[in-house]
Every structure is written in C-alpha cells, then in structure tokens.
Symmetry: C2
C-alpha cells in the first residue's frame, strides 16, 4: 500500500509528525489531516466486528487515518455530511446541543464504533463528536464507501447490520432513561462500560472513566451531584472502588441486578431493619435507604 512512512506514533503522538506530503485536509470541524496510516477493507471489517470476506484484503482501496487531540471535534452539528468515521483508538463523546447551548451526551464511542451515521439523512450532521482523549480515527468517505457497497454485497449488508445495531442500542437507552432509577442507571452505566472495556481486551474490572461526572450525568439524564453521590454510595457499600476517575468493580452481580421498583404494592417504611441474611451489598443499600423496601424481597429471593 501507499502509506509511506507511518513513523513511530505511539500513543504519545504528535512527536514528530511533520511528515509533509499528505494532502492536507481541513473542514468545518476545524481538524487537519495529520494522518499517516491507512487501512484496507479488511481492517474496517475487523473493527466493526463484521465478517471480512477475502476480497477485503484488497489494498487498492485504502482509508486514511486522522489523529485528533483531546477536545477536538470530529464533526460538528449542521456540518455538511461527507464521511463516516470509525474509531481506531481513543475515547470520545457524541453530543446534541439544544437551542440554548447545553450539551446532551448521546454516547461515548470507543474503538470499533462507527460515527456520523446521523448525517446520512439530509446530508448534514445532527450531532457532534468530540475527542475525550487523543484519538485515531479512520475516515470513510461516504461516496467511496457506498460505491464499494454496491460492489461487495456483504459490505452493504454489514452496513445495514451496524446501523440496525445502533438503533437497537438507542432503543435500549430510551428504555433505560425512562424506566430506571438514578442508582440503576449509574449501575448499568458502569457494567456496560466494564463490558466494553473487556471486549477491547482491557480489564473490565478496573478502568478509568474518560469523562467527567457532568458528562456521565448528561448521558444518564442526571445531575453531576447525583452521579457523584451514587458512586460514593456504591463505594461505601463495597460494590465498587472509586479513586477519582479510576473505578474498580467489586460486586458485578449486585450492580447488574440493581433495578427500579416494578409496580409492586409492598411499600413500608425502612424503619424496621432487616435481620435476615441477604447479599451484603443489597442489605447495605437498604440500610442506607438507597433502595426502596421492595428490593428487600428481591434480595432475599437471591439467597
């Protein structure tokens, strides 16, 4: 392939990238092309976790990488849609901005996630994506990509699959937002994040949050104080450890089973304490009044 140098460019990046002769791109989001890597179709398929047919090894078609520094925008709201993006490394957030400038976080993309789908409809991006850390992003010019789709049926099918997957993910998000309590939201957020880190080969038990409490709160429909309090509570209860943005998952099952009250009708005061032997974490939650009374029954059932 034609990707010339490629230099060192470890995670440190930006050391000596004056490697000149690339076409210098720039766009409304204000980024410039400093990329020096290229990926073929097979790489793309691997990243998206879709089967990569043989032909995909074809190095005739290459897609350029671009590096973003933390805080930079990959695309902005209203920007004309030209490309999809795949995250090769790094962490980002996609946000909606309402009429008064406040951000609504929609997702926290990381390696393997596809960005920019919302721009296909009506040719303009509906959201914006911002790097939370230094990132390596692969640019998929939409015209090129959809032309390829017409050649390789499997690729096209893969695109439909990815879009459908994204839709299902958002549906689950809607369900969670409107049906779960604050504690349950935070608990699920942590387990989901752990799972995703796990799938990427990192530890799913100990990891760093790449986002602020404020961003988590925006994502979950909570205030940053509520997020902070909930993390503190989980910590005191021994379900997790919290050290700044370093999270350690201790009682994963307790986190996963934390829920909101089903339309149950059992509801007494939390005065009379629990004496039965129940899962330590849940018991503690009850004693701290963090869970409504009905959960006591769930806890006992879990024994």
């Amino acid at each position: 392939m034609s990707s010339t140098s490629t230099a060192a460019t470890s995670s440190g990046m930006a050391t000596g990238n004056k490697l000149t002769n690339f076409p210098v791109l720039s766009n409304e989001a204000g980024w410039r092309c400093q990329g020096n890597l290229w990926s073929n179709l097979k790489d793309i398929c691997n990243l998206l976790k879709v089967p990569s047919p043989n032909y995909a090894n074809d190095d005739e078609v290459l897609f350029q990488h671009v590096r973003f520094k933390a805080g930079q925008r990959v695309h902005t709201i209203g920007q004309h849609f030209e490309s999809l993006f795949i995250v090769n490394s790094g962490f980002l957030k996609t946000v909606l901005v309402d009429e008064y400038g406040s951000e609504q976080v929609l997702s926290f993309p990381m390696k393997g996630d596809l960005l920019g789908i919302d721009g296909i409809y009506n040719e303009h991006h509906a959201s914006e994506t911002i790097a939370l850390s230094d990132c390596d992003i692969i640019i998929l010019p939409y015209k090129t990509f959809s032309a390829l789709g017409r050649i390789y049926a499997e690729l096209e099918q893969a695109m439909f699959n990815v879009m459908s997957r994204e839709l299902v993910r958002e549906q689950a998000m809607i369900g969670m937002l409107s049906a779960l309590s604050a504690e349950a939201k935070v608990a699920r957020f942590l387990t989901n994040l752990g799972d995703r880190y796990g799938q990427l080969g990192y530890s799913g038990k100990v990891f760093n949050l790449r986002m602020t409490r404020h961003e988590i709160g925006s994502y979950l429909g909570l205030t940053l104080e509520t997020v902070s309090r909930t993390l503190s509570a989980f910590n005191e209860l021994g379900m997790i450890t919290v050290d700044q943005r370093q999270i350690g998952i201790i009682d994963a099952t307790a986190l996963k089973t934390l829920r909101r009250l089903p339309p149950a009708k059992s509801r007494k005061k939390v005065t009379e304490q629990v004496s039965e032997k129940v899962s330590a974490g849940v018991t503690a939650l009850i004693s701290k009044n963090l869970l409504p009374q009905w959960n006591k029954e769930v806890a006992t059932a879990l024994n």
Copy 2:
C-alpha cells in the same frame, strides 16, 4: 386463499396486478394474510417520502398488504426477522418489554413509517409492534427488498436515508427524555403529534389520541397520572382543549416554547406575583405554579 379480487383499491395503485395464487402467510405474531392489495415500488417510495425513480412503476415487483385489527401484533420480541413493514393506514405502538413484563413504548408509528428495522441486526426483532387501531400494513420481505436494493441504487440509498432518519429521531427522543420536565415532554408530544397528523393531511389542530394515558406516560417516561394532570393544566390554561382523547391545540406557540430550567441561577419564591404584561398562557402557568420562577423571565423576554 387466492385473494383474486382486489376490489375497490381506493387510493389508487395496484389496479392491474396479475395476482395469481398467493401463499397463505402466518407467523409467530399470529397474524394471517387477509391482504388483498398490492403495492409496487413507487407506492413504497411515496409512503417513505423518498424520491421514486421511473423504474419504480414496474409492476413486476409487488408487495402484499396485510390487515391487522386493533390489538394484534405485527411482530413480537425475539421473533425471527424476515420482513420490514410499512404502515399504509392505521395507528400502532412499538414497545420494549423488560425482564418483568412491563412495557416501554418506543414510538407510535402511523402512515408512512417503517417498522422492523431493529430486526436486521442479529436476525431477531428486538421490539414488538401492536396495532392501536385497524391497520393496513405492507410487507417487505427483507431478502426480496435488499435484492432490489442491489439492482436499484436509489432504493438502497433511500433505505440508508430512512434508517438514518430513524436514528436521528431516536437521538432527539433521548435528548428530550433526559433533559425536559414533565410539562415540556407532554407539550412536545402534542405538538409533534399535531405536526405528524398535519403532514398526513389531517388537522394538526384537532385530533384524536389513539393511545391511552398510560401509553403516553410510558413513551414519555412519566406516570399516567402526571400525563393526565398536565393535560388538565394545559386545558385550564387555555393552551389546549381536552375531551377524552380529543385534543384541540389552541396556543401552539406556547406549547412549543415550554421548556425546562436551563442552568439559570435565578430562583425566588413564586410569592410576589407578576404584574408585567406577559403572554397570557405563560403567566397563568406561573400563577398556577406550574412553571418555575425563571420562566417568568423567558415570558417577559417573549414580549
């Protein structure tokens, strides 16, 4: 069945389709084919509001209609994915069902909406769609449809557009769920519904809710009581009229501008009443303590 007779095909289309003998369909959702209408590609494109190229008039490829009675399921959760669906007439709801059987409403599809996209990924439906009224649904067998897409590039592009549009819609939903107050949610729900009715040629000012308060609440992440109370309040304030499920929009702009508190810091008691001349509706809301104090400033600004 061999529905032969196509009888009165009302809204045009499918007059001269050589309908031979159809296979009698039936599936996990329990519906049977009672359809006796067929649509061609052009009809489909019109319904989806995407440009319909000339070739689409081709009556070689026809898609069957199926009728559902209120309460019937078009597809269920977990059902094997085989077809997409387009609503030709009628009203429905799509729901998620959590581990404990409670429903989470995701959308209220009506004419022109595409159903079943969530099934593409992993071959199984993630949600279920239930008819709220008698419906006429067009079946798009996915294999057939995607094969057509490979022939007609525009059709394929249209599919991407529709899926992207759906994604954007869900993103907006997420933003609304996590950032708006109960009143604002209900207000937006009404205006959105009005807009959709308007686009279909009905009145956007006076219309019938096809769903229960409970379903609205589920959709908006509220209880049915809150929905009821909010409608009553809007009614008393002269912003809408409410007669059972008949809604009349009176002050559309007031509904559209109703919001949740931006991180403003002005927050006094609602004791000292407003004397300035402000929009009647908003003033009334303030006096009824339905809006927090900061909105008073918004109201005055609107003068």
